[in-house]
């Protein structure tokens, strides 16, 4: 937690930041007719794409109250939560603007060209040009970086950009470790980055007002503002009030509030789903910069920086607030000259009282927080955000220490599997019959392992683990191994007890969510299509098919066979499936002759 040059903290050269600011504002103010500005300097190693914003209400909200929609997973396959299998929400109006740009303009072609020239690509946007830049950057990451088709990650620099997506959006970007490519500048009182925290009903007039104010010549700004002072005040208050709701609701959760009211009230009051992500750089207005990358803490600051002191409730001050949306270029210039930067990494230790700070580092942070007018309450919220992050890391550490226990358990099941093979019986069938002490011991081990994984699963579902937990290679491998080895036993147990007759087929009614999560982990990591890594549920399909007459399920049998063929080829499906006495072999041999003769797996099961 201390200073540093802004270029070092963000990893983006400062002249590029300045240039993107210039271009973003140029795109927004000077060329609203163009879809974007592409700055390509033949000799340079960089390519800039700057997007203009818009003040039309339709370009902000597609519907009431907050205008969000599910992201198009075909274009943004990473923007979802693997734990809860939910697509991220994105502002529909912003997303539509980006889609149009992509399909109607030459953006894709020009980006392709920049890629082939091996350029560092920077997407940038001011105001509501920001969201388009953000979506373009994610599109680029999905299309070029994730498949390893391009080694130079893009940067996305926004200035006074409104929020774009919900918490899953933010979670997914953090999971993919992309947040460092998103750099968002926000001046302390700029109202625009907070607008999406309020519903359209209370910002519609405000957007019109912003349009009028920003298009008036700067020397007339003051005058234009005075004539609209009432509307401006109403706009400011309603954005602030909604921001207060969102921030205090989030803070209650961060602070571990257990009151049932929180849930009840949520069914009466719809809160904005939007959340910040990436690196936020707050500009104080006097050249100082505050850098944060914890999304919970950023959300709190978006609210608390807006709070007024008693002396600040006058029209002049309010006018200044509205002007802050337009001064990014000069503000940035000044800040970069001063390099008075505080990067708060360790949120837990931010000083609480304004006069705290016995050592230099604490004093620096303290004076920065004072510059942004952050009271003890605000600082407590920032700490709570840090505490949550710390707790998540500790949870992860705790599970990491379980790895050996899981490995030992898996080893035991593997031995069981081998033992069964020696007896010429598949471990699926052996387990289903439960004849032997070995079978029983395997059952106990199965339950023990399920206990450990269920604990992990619960934490993933409640988001109590770091965002990146879902993509850690070692855990994905462990999960895949566990799933392939143990899920057949769960299926065996299910059909042994005929639970399908009580509750329905395993796949629909009873598949434990731990397996679903693990399957998604692998499918995501290997960029496989959704549902294609279903080898561990092979037995459940067999069990369902074998109770039905062949004529009814012919297509399904063919489908299963072709998948099984591939799995056997890859060595994913064990030999145990194909032993003479296995449930699968017996069922398959009883299929009609004409089917068997044409089957792709006939070779494995020939008499």
């Amino acid at each position: 937690m201390a200073g540093g040059r802004i270029g070092e903290i963000t990893g983006l050269r400062e002249e590029l930041i300045l240039k993107s600011c210039r271009l973003a504002i140029k795109a927004h103010e000077k060329s609203p007719g163009k879809p974007y500005i592409h700055d390509k300097n033949r000799g340079s190693t960089d390519a800039f794409f700057a997007f203009p914003g818009s003040w039309l209400v339709d370009h902000w909200y597609s519907r009431k109250p907050f205008g969000e929609t599910k992201v198009d997973l075909s274009k943004f396959p990473s923007l979802r939560s693997l734990g809860n299998d939910e697509a991220a929400l994105v502002n529909e109006a912003f997303s539509t603007r980006f889609e149009l740009l992509l399909s109607k303009s030459s953006l894709a072609v020009e980006v392709e060209k920049a890629v082939s020239d091996q350029k560092q690509i920077v997407f940038t946007g001011h105001s509501s040009g920001g969201p388009v830049a953000i979506l373009a950057a994610i599109w680029f990451l999905e299309k070029y970086v994730r498949p390893n088709a391009y080694q130079i990650p893009p940067y996305c620099v926004t200035f006074g950009s409104p929020l774009v997506g919900n918490w899953i959006f933010s979670h997914a970007v953090r999971r993919e470790n992309w947040m460092r490519y998103f750099i968002n500048f926000v001046t302390r009182h700029d109202i625009v980055p907070r607008i999406m925290l309020a519903p359209v009903s209370s910002t519609e007039q405000g957007l019109k007002l912003m349009h009028e104010l920003t298009t008036s010549k700067s020397q007339y700004f003051q005058h234009a503002f005075i004539t609209k002072i009432d509307a401006a005040l109403a706009f400011f208050l309603s954005v602030m009030r909604n921001a207060s709701s969102v921030a205090s609701h989030a803070a209650c959760k961060l602070m571990g509030c257990t009151n049932l009211l929180l849930e009840t009230v949520s069914s009466f009051i719809e809160l904005s789903p939007y959340r910040p992500f990436g690196t936020y750089i707050f500009c104080s207005g006097n050249g100082k910069l505050l850098v944060l990358d914890n999304p919970d803490a950023i959300l709190q600051l978006l609210f608390y920086c807006l709070q007024l002191s008693p002396g600040e409730q006058n029209s002049e001050f309010l006018c200044g607030i509205f002007k802050e949306h337009l001064i990014y270029e000069s503000e940035l210039q000044e800040s970069l000259n001063m390099q008075n930067v505080v990067y708060i990494e360790n949120l837990i230790d931010v000083p609480l009282s304004s006069d705290a700070g016995t050592n230099d580092a604490a004093a620096t942070v303290n004076s920065a927080l004072n510059d942004f007018g952050l009271s003890t309450r605000a600082r407590l919220c920032v700490r709570a955000a840090g505490e949550l992050e710390k707790q998540k890391l500790e949870n992860q550490k705790k599970f990491d220490s379980n790895k050996d226990t899981i490995r030992d358990g898996l080893r035991m099941i593997q031995e069981y599997q081998t033992n069964c093979e020696i007896r010429k019986i598949g471990y699926y069938d052996a387990f289903k019959n439960q004849r032997d002490t070995n079978d029983f011991n395997a059952n106990v081990k199965r339950l023990e392992l399920a206990g450990i994984w269920d604990e992990i699963k619960e934490m993933i579902k409640r988001c109590e683990l770091p965002d990146g937990f879902d993509v850690r290679k070692e855990w994905i491998e462990l999960g895949t191994m566990y799933r392939r080895l143990l899920e057949p036993l769960d299926i065996a147990n299910y059909y042994r007890h005929l639970k399908n007759e009580d509750t329905g087929p395993y796949m629909i009614k009873a598949r434990p969510s731990r397996y679903r999560i693990m399957q998604r982990w692998r499918e995501h990591a290997e960029r496989m299509s959704v549902g294609s890594s279903s080898e561990s549920t092979f037995w459940a399909e067999v069990e369902e098919l074998r109770t039905k007459p062949y004529s009814e399920v012919k297509d399904k049998v063919l489908g299963l066979e072709s998948r099984a063929y591939a799995w056997i080829q890859d060595g994913i499906l064990g030999k145990d499936v194909l032993v003479d006495e296995s449930t699968f072999t017996k069922w398959w041999r009883a299929l009609p002759v004409q089917h068997k003769s044409g089957s792709c797996i006939a070779n494995y099961l020939g008499n």
Binding site: M240, R241, N242, S244, S245, S248, H249, A251, C252, L254, M255, G256, C257, T258, N259, L260, L261, L262, E263, T264, V265, S267, F268, I269, Q307, L308, S309, P351, L352, S353, S354, D355, A356, G373, S375, T376, R377, L380, R383, A384, E387, Q434, F440, N443, V444, L447, E448, A450, G451, I452, D454, E455, E458, R496, H497, L498, E501, D502, T503, G504
Partner: protein, 624 residues
């Protein structure tokens, strides 16, 4: 313990959240209108998707309102608050409410306009907020309880919320507990101004005060309906005010002390309380903490402020709703760097209790305790999940034993093998597991009953399913053990006398669970566990009946016994036909098969003499 709870105090943040939503402001706005209207019993207003219903604060008060007598909801308002009927436990006081307030509500409830309007509102909006100032708040609470109670029996998902302003206490501890168990605790929000006497009044016994109270209510009623209330409120003399203040404060202090000794207080808060001062507001949901804060905050007041505050909600609500705008100053004086201490200091500052006052320590303990209780619930829940996965292997061992018995050569089946077990290692291990599982589930139930678990614990599918499975697997063993040790001779039969409370509770959980559209196709094989966990107890009873029939000389009693056996036989064969029993029931040497044999024997040997019972012969049922 302290490490486990979160290190932040959130009571102030929660109040801030509520105040930043439109709920509080809109509710108060309508309450103000209701108070000004002298003709209507209630008024309503629709804002977006939410309909607000407000009751005027000062009703015509009957003499009942001046006592603090409580009546049981089940008897005094039969059929109105049906949800509370299931919370009547024999050893405990039933849920009760203040008699006068209930009558006020019932007289409204019995009007055609009220119920017609409610139906209309329910059809129109998805969310309803009941609100009221003073006694209007009590009406709002009762209306909300009534609707919540009704909704439980329907599939409607109307959201109900209740916000009261300076309302008197309403009911006893049982009412509060029932509300928690119904998970309605989050639906009630009581706003209390710093020194307002009305929410605290009923902590004082009324006898020496009946006249003053009456005058007090009357003066309030009069003053509020006229714009110049301050002149008229003087009707209550300064001495009366002082005495009122003194008495209520003393009684509150006594109540708050009584809590430390776990003594009962006649009135008990429910839902959350938002305490407002001119410095800010906090929100607390722990009843003990609420009572103590009611006392500690009143102690900072005066005879005049305690009455004025009841009429100052306009000011308090407006301030609460707009305070978010302003940057709040830093903590006064203390310069702690501990997040928790700083949070508590800020909260108590907002509650008007500053750090140099003697009450500060007490109030701090209060918030701390409330916080710990709340957090412990979630921690317990998480721990329990781990414990549950630890006991699952025990259950697996029993399943293994079940399978072993069902397949063994003596063909006795699971139940009888365990009942007749010799001193085998297997049997005693299973018996041990049976005891350990019982311990686990008893602990769960105890924690649930002492409110140490989340309120919706018994609705979590995980525990409902686990408890059901446990019941089906282990209760037969409990029955076997009961009859094996001859307990039925000492205490009577299992179902009536020997069944552990936990199984009855699990029956209820299973019955109340949410059932999806499940396919009910007939079973193709016997169930792996008999679906009626008391099946074996019924077998034992039926066999006992057979022995009694053999020795029963009285023909009338003999016949009754036979009918009972017959009923059981029909029931059992139905279960078997539907394959709802497990393998052990039809094992060759099972108690059930012994019963079948004995019964057949009895019927063939000793038939009741036909001409003594002509009626039976007509029915023809008894002829084999």
């Amino acid at each position: 313990m302290e490490d486990e709870v979160s290190s932040f105090e959130s009571s102030e943040m929660l109040a801030t959240f509520l105040a930043s939503t439109p709920l509080l402001e809109e509710s108060w706005k309508l309450c103000r209108h209701a108070n000004a209207s002298t003709v209507q019993d209630f008024i309503w207003n629709r804002v977006g998707d939410v309909t607000y219903v407000a009751f005027p604060g000062l009703q015509n008060v009957g003499s009942d309102s001046c006592t603090r007598e409580l009546v049981a909801l089940g008897t005094a308002a039969e059929g109105v608050f049906t949800a509370f009927d299931r919370h009547v436990v024999e050893s405990e006081e039933p849920p009760m409410v203040h008699i006068g307030l209930l009558q006020l509500f019932l007289s409204l409830y019995n009007t055609q306009t009220f119920r017609a309007k409610m139906t209309e509102i329910m059809n129109e909006s998805k969310s309803i907020v009941f609100t009221g100032h003073s006694m209007g708040g009590s009406l709002a609470s009762l209306s909300a309880l009534w609707l919540l109670s009704c909704l439980g029996n329907t599939s409607l998902s109307t959201a109900i919320f209740c916000i009261t302003f300076g309302a008197p206490m309403l009911g006893n501890e049982s009412l509060s507990r029932a509300i928690l168990h119904e998970r309605w605790g989050g639906n009630f929000y009581h706003v209390v101004a710093q020194h307002d006497i009305v929410p605290r009044l009923l902590f004082a016994p009324t006898i020496p005060f009946i006249v003053e109270l009456h005058a007090f209510f009357k003066s309030l009623q009069f003053s509020l309906t006229t714009p110049y209330y301050e002149q008229l409120a003087v009707q209550l003399s300064d001495e009366n005010k002082a005495e009122l203040f003194r008495t209520v404060l003393a009684c509150l202090e006594a109540s708050s002390r009584a809590l430390n000794n776990q003594e009962r207080v006649p009135f008990w808060p429910f839902g959350s309380f938002m305490f407002c001062t001119d410095k800010g507001s906090i929100c607390v949901d722990n009843a003990t903490a609420i009572v103590k804060l009611l006392y500690l905050m009143l102690a900072t007041g005066s005879p005049s402020s305690c009455i004025e505050d009841h009429l100052k909600y306009d000011e308090y609500v407006t301030r609460a709703c707009w305070q978010y705008l302003m940057k709040t100053s830093f903590m006064e004086g203390s310069s702690t760097e501990s997040s928790y201490e700083a949070g508590v200091a800020l909260a108590l500052n907002s509650a008007g209790i500053s750090s140099h006052e003697p009450a500060y320590g007490l109030a701090k303990d209060c918030l701390k305790m409330a916080k710990q209780v709340g957090c412990r619930r979630n921690i317990n829940n998480a721990k329990l999940a781990v414990d549950l996965s630890k006991i699952t292997p025990l259950r697996a061992q029993i399943e293994w034993y079940q399978k072993f018995c069902d397949d063994s050569d003596d063909q006795m089946g699971y139940y009888d093998s365990f009942k007749q077990r010799s001193a085998s290692k297997k049997g005693s291990k299973v018996n041990m597991n049976r005891c350990r599982l019982a311990l686990f589930w008893d602990k769960v139930i105890e924690m649930l009953e002492t409110n140490q678990l989340p309120y919706d614990f018994d609705k979590q599918p995980k525990y409902v399913n686990a408890s059901q499975f446990y019941k089906l697997l282990v209760e037969p063993l409990e029955i076997a053990e009961y009859y094996r040790t001859g307990m039925h001779k000492m205490k009577g039969h299992y179902i009536e006398q020997g069944r552990e409370k936990r199984f009855q509770i699990f029956d209820k959980w299973w019955k109340d669970r949410k059932v999806g559209e499940e396919e009910n196709s007939p079973r193709s094989k016997l169930a792996s566990l008999t679906q009626d966990s008391c099946f074996w107890a019924r077998v034992e009873e039926a066999r006992e009946c057979i022995y009694e029939v053999a020795s029963e000389m009285d023909m009338g009693r003999n016949l009754l016994l036979r009918e009972k056996i017959e009923r059981f036989e029909q029931y059992a064969s139905r279960m078997i036909d539907r394959k709802e029993v497990s393998k052990d029931v039809i094992a060759k040497n099972s108690s059930y098969n012994l019963f079948v044999g004995e019964w057949r024997e009895l019927k063939s040997h000793a038939q009741p003499c036909p001409f003594q019972f002509p009626s039976l012969q007509d029915g023809g049922n008894m002829v084999p």
